[in-house]
């Protein structure tokens, strides 16, 4: 049967320098769809939940979804699934660009990398020809330079690589592809560095993936493209202003965390908003493979160079959260993040935590190598990002492992605004009740794209909820988490969900793979993936208390701005959420696992 899976997986053992071709387990593929779901199942089945994340025993899975490389809009994504060295739990970092689609065109659904090379290497995939090359000459180089060298050496290819941060096994290290696209979170770049794997170059002679039902896929894809174009967010708003448009919205509701969440309103926020960016540094927008939305920013730096621009998250994190309002400095700091290969959310959040440590006297000028960590310092945000990437000094090395380890080092872990040791993104959960549930319960730690309740609670999509109340939020959190897991597993972009819903995703998936999912069946797969990830975390040693917001967010009130006086109701909503999930004390019951076809995981309870 023709399906939009290739049916083949590449296994690369770096210790042995052995390359093997394996068939894709189609039963597993259908049960977990692909990408995030299938990758997690493979990782768990191969025994990686209990390994040291930076040891050769951990595996690094680059995996596409069945929509990756098809004619489906936004179907160009790949995921990196591994055990996270930052959280010690499941990592699944998702990226766009074209790399994932080319991997698929080359004939592969996934690459499983295991072991550790004794010297730096890079992997070249040219359709079914796979070669390991020496990468000694690339080691130490930054991401864009490596990409330029490899693109020249392997003409017509797409390049994925790590920068110095990944080489140093910094726990905030990202994997970069196609310039400024990033599998950014949970330290996946450190795992790649621990294996001495610098880059993966992909090239393919094919340019499309044959779906199960060509006509049905064309019909479903055309319908989805029409809906994406007609929707004012995906058809116009995101292209014009990018995600940066959120700066003013979130600030005006009083939910823009400021100075490491000590405040929640930043009066100067408009100076680094999407509107200001468009009027000053924006050159044009940019779209990933097969994406009709085009939310990416291309900006001009002060020195005239044209580079990938910041998303809402780094704008906030280098802006309000570091007490800074200089857009040019944020553009530059974001670019440094990409060049050294660091997570552009966790890195500035860790700088913000360091600035609070400096404010409170834990970090002193003696630690700062001449660049004090003062709120709002444009020099500090740029220089410390570079230093974290290159491991310039002791403090920079400590910071590159994230805010939790940094603050713990000074005896004040409560100053780290993180969940499961991963930094929480740009929305104050005391002012927006639902998002707090998804922060606390995200399987990969602090994250906004594991149930983006900002959509209904702030943007009014698909309907407007009251951000200040708790009623129904537990159920909303579950549904958003489940649908997101499906979209990720399919290899599509989460932003498509501003215009598309479960019926559209089911139609696309069925046409591509020959499955027969209805809306409930599809959401059940999402539920299964969410429970699977939770069971991976259980096996990795997660405890119920890991589903916790930091004290400042979970217990203290907002002190300024339009949401002054508001506080998180997480103590009320967390039990409601567990009930909605069929969980007890943070983990699935035996009955829930059986209902979802995960009976083989009961023994892990």
């Amino acid at each position: 049967m023709v399906t939009s899976y290739n049916g083949e997986v590449l296994r690369v053992n770096l210790t042995e320098r052995a390359i093997k071709v394996e068939p894709l387990d189609m039963d597993k593929a259908v049960k977990y769809i692909g990408g995030r779901g299938l990758g997690t199942r493979i990782l768990l089945d191969e025994g990686c939940a209990t390994v040291d994340p930076l040891s050769p025993e951990n595996k690094l899975i680059y995996i596409t979804g069945p929509m990756t490389g098809t004619a489906v809009p936004t179907g160009g994504r790949y995921m990196v699934v591994t055990k996270s060295p930052l959280t010690g739990m499941i990592a699944c970092s998702n990226s766009g660009g074209i790399w994932g689609a080319i991997l698929k065109y080359a004939g592969w659904d996934a690459i499983i990398v295991e072991g550790k090379a004794d010297t730096p290497v890079y992997l070249e995939i040219n359709d079914k020809e796979v070669t390991l090359h020496d990468a000694s000459d690339l080691w130490g180089k930054k991401t864009l330079e490596v990409e330029a060298i490899l693109k020249e050496r392997h003409e017509g290819s797409s390049v994925l690589n790590i920068g110095p941060a990944g080489e140093n096994q910094a726990l905030l290290a990202a994997i970069m592809n196609d310039g400024d696209r990033a599998a950014g979170r949970s330290g996946v770049g450190a795992v790649m560095g621990s294996k001495n794997l610098k880059a993966i170059v992909v090239k393919a002679s094919k340019t499309q993936i044959e779906p199960h039902d060509v006509d049905a896929l064309r019909t479903a894809a055309v319908d989805s493209i029409k809906k994406l174009r007609a929707n004012s967010v995906t058809g116009e708003g995101l292209a014009t202003f990018g995600t940066a448009v959120l700066v003013n919205i979130i600030n005006n509701i009083g939910a823009l965390p400021t100075r490491n969440w000590q405040e929640s309103y930043h009066p100067e926020a408009d100076s680094y908003s999407g509107e200001t960016m468009r009027d000053t540094s924006l050159v044009k927008n940019h779209a990933c493979h097969r994406c009709p939305i085009g939310c990416g920013r291309v900006v001009k730096l002060e020195d005239g160079s044209v580079v990938g621009g910041p998303e809402y998250e780094p704008l906030w994190a280098y802006g309000a959260n570091c007490g800074n309002s200089d857009l040019n400095a944020i553009n530059k700091a974001n670019e440094i993040c990409n060049e050294v290969g660091l997570d552009a959310i966790s890195t500035p959040c860790t700088i913000a935590a360091a600035m609070e440590l400096y404010q409170r006297g834990y970090i002193t000028d003696a630690d700062c190598d001449g660049v004090p960590l003062v709120w709002g310092s444009t020099e500090a945000i740029k220089t410390w990002t570079e230093w974290m990437g290159t491991g310039k000094n002791e403090l920079a090395k400590l910071m590159a492992d994230g805010s939790y380890r940094l603050c713990e080092h000074y005896g004040v872990p409560e100053l780290s605004m993180s969940v499961k040791k991963q930094e929480i993104p740009a929305y104050d959960a005391r002012a927006i009740q639902g998002i707090g549930i998804t922060y606390a319960t995200s399987n990969r730690g602090g994250c906004h794209v594991r149930g983006y309740l900002i959509s209904p609670e702030v943007l009014g999509l698909p309907e407007q909820l009251d951000r200040t109340t708790t009623e129904g939020k537990a159920e909303w959190a579950k549904i958003f988490q489940d649908l997101t897991a499906v979209i990720d597993a399919m290899g599509m972009c989460l932003f498509s969900s501003f215009a598309l819903g479960a019926p559209e995703y089911a139609a696309l998936l069925n046409a591509g793979t020959g499955t027969n999912y209805d809306v409930n069946g599809l959401l059940e797969v999402g539920d299964r993936i969410y429970n699977l990830e939770r069971m991976f975390n259980k096996a990795a040693g997660m405890k119920p208390e890991d589903d916790r917001l930091p004290k400042r967010i979970g217990e203290e009130k907002i002190v300024n701005g339009p949401s002054e006086g508001m506080q998180s109701e997480i103590k009320l909503t967390l039990p409601q959420y567990y009930e909605a999930r069929g969980w007890k004390e943070a983990f699935p019951t035996e009955e829930t696992l059986k209902r979802l076809g995960l009976e083989d995981l009961v023994e892990l309870l």
Binding site: S232, T234, G237, V245, N248, I249, I253, E275, G460
Partner: protein
């Protein structure tokens, strides 16, 4: 006085911040009409940071924020 903050495409051909004289009984409609903003283009209408309906009655000294449909993540 009322402080009216405009965002995204609402800024095209208009100021970012407009101060308006307050009169008892005013609603959001009395804000968008003189600005020439069609009702259907207003996706988010905030009164002092809280999501509100255009027909809600305003109070003197309020800060209003208007957004067209936008999203991000």
């Amino acid at each position: 006085m009322l402080e009216v903050r405009l965002f995204a495409t609402f800024r095209e051909g208009r100021e970012k911040i407009i101060m308006m004289e307050y009169q008892p009984g005013m609603t959001g409609y009395d804000i968008i009409t003189p600005l020439g903003i069609p009702e259907e283009e207003v996706a988010i209408f905030l009164i002092n940071g809280r999501h509100s309906k255009l027909h809600a009655e305003l109070e003197d000294g309020s800060v209003l924020a208007l957004f067209p449909p936008v999203g991000g993540g």
